[in-house]
């Protein structure tokens, strides 16, 4: 803890209440339970005012980083989001997506550095929508909010990040999305080299943070690394490098604060196992990958299937058993209407026949 304290040099002001919520394109598709859980935890468990506005749109960040959305367009889209926030009576903007969070910070910084771009954006927004740009008082990522509320969540915890079989803290790999603080180090809690936003949650809830050599490395999403099919080898190579590096520490799970990272660290494990039979978990299976809302949800006693953890490629049941979370195995494949929707074939990553990487190295 004493060493980790030095990771907290970068702090930022986080509003305590009254947030305007901007959703994530990826998360609504791959982790729909996470966004629901965030809203539910804040509204119903912590009594915080957060507004989920149906009028807001994608920030178009993925298109921007893939060179199909021009700068002027994304600035105008961002300006519209901010205007919607002001119209709704809020001034603290909270982004669910790391890409979007980076975009919002980048656009605000660009307006600051080049005032003519702000003036131009104001004109475009007025001409296109009749709205006036009102800049937010604060910008935060949703993981910042959970970090800010980590002690409050700890006080309401049903489970701690402790292995109930051994009594030892769970070993947790935290992965921070590149666009959280690598663009603007001061935008993230802990800065870009030793971010503390997820580590703070893990420590507050009883777990141990794994510091491994490739901790800072990108998950490999990198937009065009994945979106251009020919580049996908580069994407998987990055995830592979991280998994190889973290495996000797025998992590119990990975937690990420970026939609793309959570998706790729989870799904590339499936691909690697199918390609060459490699699994990185200590039990010969994959390492479960969680969003921080899922982690918070489990700590607070939410049902894992309500959190949407059945969407994961790597099965989470071994982790749930370590945590002592009660769940109905049969309910994993029930649809929203309660009907059985069918079970996918077993994937290599979830079969215990895989030999753990660190044993093979021996």
């Amino acid at each position: 803890m004493s060493r980790r304290a030095s990771w907290q040099e970068y702090q930022k002001d986080i509003a305590a209440d009254r947030y305007y919520y901007a959703r994530s394109c990826i998360r609504q598709n791959f982790f729909p339970g996470s966004e629901w859980a965030f809203l539910d935890i804040l509204s119903n468990r912590l009594g915080i005012d957060i507004y989920d506005d149906p009028l807001h749109t994608s920030c178009t960040g993925i298109g921007y980083h893939s060179d199909v959305v021009p700068l002027e367009t994304i600035m105008t889209v961002v300006a519209r989001q901010f205007s919607l926030m002001a119209e709704a009576g809020y001034e603290n903007f909270v982004s669910s997506c790391i890409t979007s969070f980076g975009i919002y910070n980048e656009v605000l910084a660009t307006w600051e550095e080049f005032p003519e771009t702000e003036e131009r954006t104001r004109r475009y927004l007025r001409e296109a929508t009749g709205r006036e740009l009102v800049k937010p008082r604060s910008i935060a990522h949703t993981s910042d909010i959970i970090f800010y509320q980590r002690e409050a969540i700890a006080r309401k915890a049903k489970h701690r990040l402790i292995n109930r079989h051994t009594g030892e803290p769970l070993r947790v790999v935290e992965h921070i999305g590149c666009h959280y603080a690598k663009i603007f180090p001061k935008s993230g809690i802990g800065g870009s080299e030793f971010p503390y936003v997820l580590a703070g949650m893990i420590e507050a809830w009883g777990g141990d943070v794994v510091d491994y050599p490739e901790r800072r490395h990108c998950c490999g999403f990198g937009f065009r690394n994945y979106l251009v099919q020919a580049n996908r080898g580069s994407s998987i190579a990055n995830s592979h490098k991280k998994l190889e590096s973290m495996a000797p520490y025998k992590p119990d799970f990975i937690v990420a604060n970026c939609p793309g990272c959570a998706m790729f660290l989870d799904k590339w494990q499936y691909t690697i196992a199918e390609m060459d039979g490699m699994a990185y978990g200590a039990d010969g299976k994959g390492i479960p990958v969680l969003t921080y809302e899922e982690m918070a949800g489990l700590v607070l006693g939410y049902d894992p299937w309500q959190l949407g953890m059945q969407f994961h490629q790597v099965d989470v049941e071994p982790l749930l058993d370590k945590l002592g979370v009660e769940y109905d195995p049969g309910a994993k494949y029930l649809g929203a209407d309660g009907k059985y929707i069918g079970k996918p074939a077993d994937a290599a990553i979830n079969c215990p026949s895989q030999r753990p990487i660190y044993e093979r190295r021996k």
Binding site: R3, S6, G191, E193, F194, D211, Y212, P213, E214, R215, R216, P248, Y249
Partner: protein
Amino acid sequence: MAYRVVVVGGGAAGMQTAIELKSRGIEPIIVERDIELGGKARGWYKLFPTFTHAREVIGPLAQQVKDMHIRCFYGQEVTQIAPDGVTLRSEERIPADAVVVATGFTLFDAHRKQEYGYGLYDNVITSVDLERMMIGGRVTLADGSEPKRIAILHCVGSRDEKVGQKHCSKVCCITGVKQAIELKEMYPTADVFNFYMDIRMFGPGYEELYREAQERYNVHFVRGRISEAAETINKRIQIKAEDTLTGRPLRMTVDMLVLLVGMSANYDNVKLAASAGLALAPNGYFKARDAFLGVVRSEREGIFFAGTATAPKSLADTLAEASLTASAVDAYLKEKFNIE
């Protein structure tokens, strides 16, 4: 009556200036912030390029100060400077006929380069830590074992806009070569890598030492700046860099990473300069009156500079400049008081 000159700082520059002044019949008073004389060189083991023990230089200077009965104030911080004297933190004023600013430099704080994990990882040390180990007679890893593979990184806090240190600290390249040779002499089978941007061997014997490091000691030189360091499960250090000569990224694991920390301007230069009406260079060092004909003179009559208060310098250059400072002060006093 002897004219009195206050020398602010009792490092190599301050001592040499005071000795030269005394030998010219002037009464110097050294005001030193620390409890003894010697400055940064006290923490150094051997000096480049001759491997002379630092104590063999600093020791005789301090002894000479003592033998010449030069008055010294220890543990005293100067807060204000003027041509007619200085004011201490205790608000005591020491009047003088001239003042020499020999306040030296501040070592760059390696914690600021967070990507290298100094203070977090046991086996990431600075060049100053390494000198301290050498003075202690043994260079080891944190667990007491011998390092088998060592990386020395140049330009930590020098030529780095990211941390506001645009200047070259001048002595780090040759220090890296010197320390690499010392490590090879201590551990002949160890692999020692120097990661550099440029190798700047400006002084006499430096280039020769650089060649000797390669040819005789097989020290490896890689042109590339390390981008990040991380600790492995067995407490080794994984480093990443780009070898810019081959144009390829490089990842290697070493037992020890030595950060060659640069020389920064003292933080309190700003206050001292303001108190005296002196100018500072953009890098925070005191600005000399002229880059050629007034390197030891300030823009105010009666205030002079010696050593690294104006820029990074080697110890040899510092000592040479201190003699020049004494000469300039002597000339100034003679002119001021119409002495033949």
